[in-house]
Symmetry: C2
DNA sequence: AAATATTAATTAAACGTTTGTTTAATTCAA
DNA sequence: TTGAATTAAACAAACGTTTAATTAATATTT
């Protein structure tokens, strides 16, 4: 069984090590030598598999970006759910997605923050934009039905994602925020995930809902 | 008049060029040669003034970090303002501070995201922590007086800062968010600033206030 | 089934650049 | 004339990448 897709396994292993290193040292701050050493492969293997350091980075992004692709479209089209239920599901899935892959999302976050590789920057923003359109259409529908107040749909989206991103920004800051010791890991802790979900739902509910 | 503090002027000029470059290319992604060229000085001048690239970065951070230092303490102690008025002032000053220096705060943001220079990371988080304590004390006071609901003070802070950070993350994404063209600059536009302030105040009001 | 040929995976070494930093000489200002 | 400011050149180290040789695995032929 081990023999099946050895190359893919090794490629994926390199990608996973790269995510870990890029997330804490940045793309430019990580050398191929360091990456190869930590992954336990020869320096030349990275270029052998991916062609270049830049292409490794592209492969890293595309490897996981498809995740949750059609899910939002399904959710919007679903007619058996109310608008606020849809918003709740979005909050839950965003929290789940970001907290379960903190290193990967920190890499994406970096790429959004700097503008070194313009095409990749564009890829990420356009994906985010599509998600934004979906959320906006849900909020607009809620406003039309007068179950939602006349809020700012775009900035509401920014508040949901921004709150989670703020917590994901730095483990050290997150620990300060929730007053825990260094050994505590907020991103795997179930109770913290629940706390974040509850806060977001309550805040967004009181902002969106009439009465 | 020009002759007064030529060195400080030049140091500050280098710092300002560095902020611009670091914010779009990252610290590791910016070379001293590129920085010197853009600042119109010799390569050796950077080390002559700051000692090293790392120390330039430290100087860059400390140069502006003191800004708004005591203001929050004053605000908390002020007895002629209600809790919600204090929160509003905090929102206004955060929006103002972040939007008027987008490049600088993107550099800080990067340094929080990666953990290359541990001591600087620690400096930034501890400053943020002090601010957080202040906001928390205001919210706690509001809860005690029963003008605020029993909310999550820490995550409320995360929502305020996180919303602004989300908008500051990428100009391209911000433009998508607010559906404007490439030539529009959201960070200098007064109307956008007002829009962000209004959204934050309304959201936080409906979350915090009883009735 | 064994031997051979072919392709893929892996390696150590070297490549030319670029990096941050330093030197030693020169210009400028007090 | 003294000290600071500025320069061009050189430094070693680290960078991403390539090469050429070797080992391992797969396919083909006897």
């Amino acid at each position: 069984m081990k023999e099946i897709n050895i190359q893919s396994d090794k490629k994926e292993h390199i990608i996973n090590v790269a995510i870990e290193l890029f997330s804490t040292k940045g793309f430019e701050g990580t050398s191929i030598r360091e990456l190869a050493a930590k992954a336990g492969v020869n320096i030349a293997m990275v270029n052998y598999y991916f062609g270049s350091k830049d292409k490794l980075f592209e492969a890293l992004i595309e490897n996981k970006v498809a995740y949750m692709k059609g899910k939002l479209e399904e959710l919007v089209a679903n007619k058996s759910l109310s608008e606020i239920e849809k918003i709740d599901i979005i909050i839950e899935s965003y929290v789940d997605r970001l907290l379960s892959q903190p290193a990967y999302h920190r890499v994406i976050h970096q790429e959004l923050l700097v503008r070194q590789r313009e095409s990749m920057h564009h890829n990420i923003t356009s994906i985010f934009n599509r998600n934004m359109e979906m959320v906006k259409s849900i909020i607009d529908a809620g406003i039309k039905k007068k179950v939602f107040k006349k809020v700012d749909p775009e900035l509401t989206m920014a508040s949901i994602v921004g709150t989670i991103n703020q917590v994901m920004l730095s483990k050290a800051m997150c620990l300060m925020l929730i007053q825990k010791g260094e050994d505590f890991d907020p991103y795997t802790d179930k109770a913290f995930r629940k706390r974040l979900e509850t806060h977001l739902k309550q805040m967004i509910h009181s902002y969106l809902l009439n009465n």
